[in-house]
């Protein structure tokens, strides 16, 4: 049996036939969402979920720990890495940036590599929420919340590096346009200052966008906690000793009271009024409209940090679009890297995040991967065509100099590995997608390393040539930023709504006031 029309599923269900769960598990169409026929609209939510089911699934993730005992140990590991990284940052601040492997020639290395790496990852969230919103891509509702969360956490990790790389972090306030004791103002002609404004604006706007999307979902969580409290269904928190020890203690804390308070405060009294929804949707569209140029501007400005210098390898006009494409590429890879395991670890996650979502994101990886590949080729072409011997040398040195392995890792991971997605079997196989996403993430880190370190390590005079070798402080701060990112994301998965419930409900067939199946609400409560 091929793909089934969602209306037919509803019809069968109304007629009291089987729920249809087994019927849509079919090999050629995966989970039933990989529909070839353009006349058939692939369902965005699987297994005949009613509107109430969506509430139950999504709120269940925030209200109960995920099944299995993996969450706490995994969180402990991630936060240990984060803590070690923070200790290293403290050590760096106390001692100085000489604890990194920097030298006279290579003054930017892992610090700025990590900064550009994280800020690039942070671009997928706003791309999904803003650009795909403007293009009315309804499938984005399944991924936008976690992608936005990822954006926020990635930008937080990114922000660490430029702040600590200045060495004397207690002077970081001098980048802000506030009067200081020398009566001087910052230089607004410097791309480094543009970067301060771009990154902080990007962080703030992403945070506002993320928060605004969550207001209705916070209200749902508030109402559920409130209803349980009124019905006396709330229990006190019970702490259980781990392992074989039989000991448990009841704390004088009612979890639902805390939920009603915290989610209630965050929900600012949202009561699902249609008059409010109208302004809400308007505000959402405006935010999407202004975030779209913002997301393109941020990585362009990051690339100006390099492109406005006169260093061979950096001084190229292709940098802004090349950086933006690479950011989207790396960001989508990170979204897939996080969501594919989540799909396996959380029950019913696959009903909301279907194979079609993964396939669409794999296609984006393929497209942006080739954009990045085109940029790599074009850099070489211009280096030759521009007839500047320093420029040409910088590029030949990238591919065949002492850092050849970094360059070819980058090419293999970023250009070669996504080519697998020309095959549909590959781009609908979550394991393959996950492996490619991992390779792309590694490749994108190496891309920034190649751009920064190989351009710096051999400048104009051979007498100043130096290699860069990372120290353990470099390495632990990088793994620390990974730990911070993963810990934050795990907290998000545990306590905040992972799917935008209102948006998912709005794209379900039951939500259409004019549909011929609209007389059936699929469940009730």
């Amino acid at each position: 049996m091929s793909a089934m029309h969602p209306d037919r599923i509803t019809a069968e269900r109304l007629a009291g036939l089987a729920p249809g769960v087994a019927a849509i598990q079919d090999a050629p169409t995966g989970d039933g969402t990989l529909v070839e026929d353009p006349a058939v609209r692939a369902p965005l939510v699987l297994n005949n979920r009613s509107i109430h089911d969506v509430t139950e699934i999504v709120c269940g993730y925030c209200e109960k720990p995920p099944p299995g005992k993996w969450w706490l140990p995994a969180f402990c590991v991630a936060s240990t890495f984060a803590a070690v990284g923070m200790l290293m940052i403290l050590y760096l601040i106390i001692t100085g940036i000489g604890t990194w492997g920097l030298n006279n020639q290579v003054g930017w290395a892992w610090d700025i590599t990590n900064f550009v790496f994280w800020i690039g990852i942070g671009h997928a969230g706003t791309l999904i929420s803003a650009i795909l919103c403007l293009f009315k891509q309804k499938w984005r509702t399944a991924v936008n919340r976690s992608a936005e969360a990822m954006t926020i956490f990635a930008v937080m990790c990114a922000g660490i590096f430029p702040a600590i790389h200045v060495g004397r972090i207690w002077f970081i306030w001098m980048v802000f346009p506030i009067p200081n004791y020398n009566w001087i103002w910052p230089n607004f002609r410097s791309p480094l200052l543009w970067d301060v404004f771009a990154v902080s604006t990007y962080f703030t706007v992403s945070l506002l966008f993320w928060y605004m999307g969550m207001i209705p979902d916070f209200a749902t969580l508030r109402d559920r906690a409130d209803r349980r409290l009124r019905r006396g269904q709330s229990a006190r928190v019970r702490l259980q000793a781990p392992g074989p020890v039989k000991f448990s203690v009841e704390l004088p804390i009612v979890a639902d009271r805390i939920r009603a308070l915290v989610y209630g405060l965050l929900a600012v009294g949202w009561r699902f009024s249609s008059r409010h929804w109208h302004r809400y949707e308007n505000a959402y569209l405006i935010l999407a409209g202004i975030s779209t140029p913002l997301v393109l501007s941020v990585h362009s400005i990051v690339s100006f940090d390099f492109a406005t210098s006169i260093l061979p390898g950096w001084h190229t006009t292709i940098f802004p679009p090349y950086f933006v494409a690479g950011a989207i590429f790396g960001g989508f890879a990170m979204v897939l890297l996080l969501l594919i395991p989540a799909r396996e670890l959380y029950p019913n996650f696959k009903d909301l995040l279907t194979l079609r979502h993964l396939e669409n994101m794999a296609k984006i990886l393929l497209v942006t991967g080739m954009m990045v590949g085109f940029a790599y080729a074009m850099e070489f072409f211009i280096a030759w065509y521009g007839a500047n011997e320093y420029e040409l040398y910088a590029f030949i040195n990238r591919a065949s100099g002492p850092y050849w392995w970094a360059y070819w890792t980058m090419i293999t991971c970023n250009v070669v590995s996504p080519q697998l997605f020309w095959s549909r079997a590959m781009r609908t196989n979550p394991v393959v997608i996950w492996i490619v996403a991992l390779l792309v993430t590694i490749g994108m880190w190496f891309e920034r390393f190649v751009i920064i370190v190989t351009s710096l390590h051999r400048a104009f005079l051979p007498g100043e040539w130096h290699m860069f070798f990372p120290t353990w402080v470099d390495i632990l701060i990088f793994t620390g930023s990974l730990g911070i990112f993963v810990s934050m994301f795990m907290l998000f998965m545990r306590f905040l709504p992972q799917f935008p419930m209102a948006e998912v409900k709005a794209v379900m067939p039951q939500a259409d006031p004019h549909g011929h199946n609209a007389h059936h609400n699929g469940g009730g409560h």
Partner: protein, 199 residues
């Protein structure tokens, strides 16, 4: 949205038109609908009946409900436009003051104040101001934050955040009549009707 939503102690509330047997003022009538098509058509009917102070509550924005309710377009874009203008002009002014007037210094022999290098920060601040205006303007026009509301006291109403739809007619509506409005909502297919008291 009104100032009285934020500073209620400045205003003497009008005498309630209707009170319950317990003497509490009536906020309005709450009618429950179990599917989206029913509430949509009921909303069209309510609009045609000439109600003004009423609302539809739904767990997600219903497509086209603005027309069904006869709601006017929001003024939010003008607020955001004003904020964008403030951000852009403020940023240009700030950069002119800091680099072109108060603290001039020569960088690569370029002019003290040319608009091109100042565009980036100008754009970013325009976006930043607009984003704040979009979120907080939306909340202010909605009369939010408002953490308590008579409707939230009704346990039935809490299902509006899950999968149930409600039409609420407030007692302040000139066409409101406890019995006639109730009968009208019943005829429109409401599955349950409840009187909501003012908190």
């Amino acid at each position: 949205m009104a100032i009285s939503d934020y500073l209620p102690f400045l205003f003497r509330p009008p005498a309630p038109r209707f009170v319950t047997e317990a003497g509490k003022p009536v906020h309005g009538v709450l009618a429950q609908f179990d599917d989206v098509a029913k509430v949509y058509h009921a909303a069209e009917k309510m609009r045609d009946e000439g109600f003004t102070n009423w609302d539809v509550h739904s767990p997600f924005p219903i497509h086209g409900i603005e027309e069904a309710m006869g709601q006017q377009r929001t003024k939010l874009p003008f607020i955001v436009g004003g904020a964008a203008f403030t951000g852009v002009s403020g940023a240009m002014l700030m950069q002119w003051f800091m680099n072109g007037f108060d603290f001039r210094f020569v960088v690569q022999g370029k002019p003290d104040f040319a608009w091109e290098p100042f565009l980036m920060v100008t754009f970013e601040l325009g976006v930043l101001f607009s984003a704040f205006a979009a979120l907080f303007g939306m909340l202010a026009l909605n009369g939010l934050p408002r953490w308590n509301h008579p409707l939230l006291a009704s346990e039935r109403f809490l299902a509006s955040s899950d999968d149930t739809f409600f039409i609420v007619v407030e007692a302040t509506d000139p066409k409101f009549d406890p019995l006639a409005t109730r009968r009208l909502l019943e005829s429109l297919g409401a599955s349950a009707i409840e009187l909501v008291e003012e908190a």
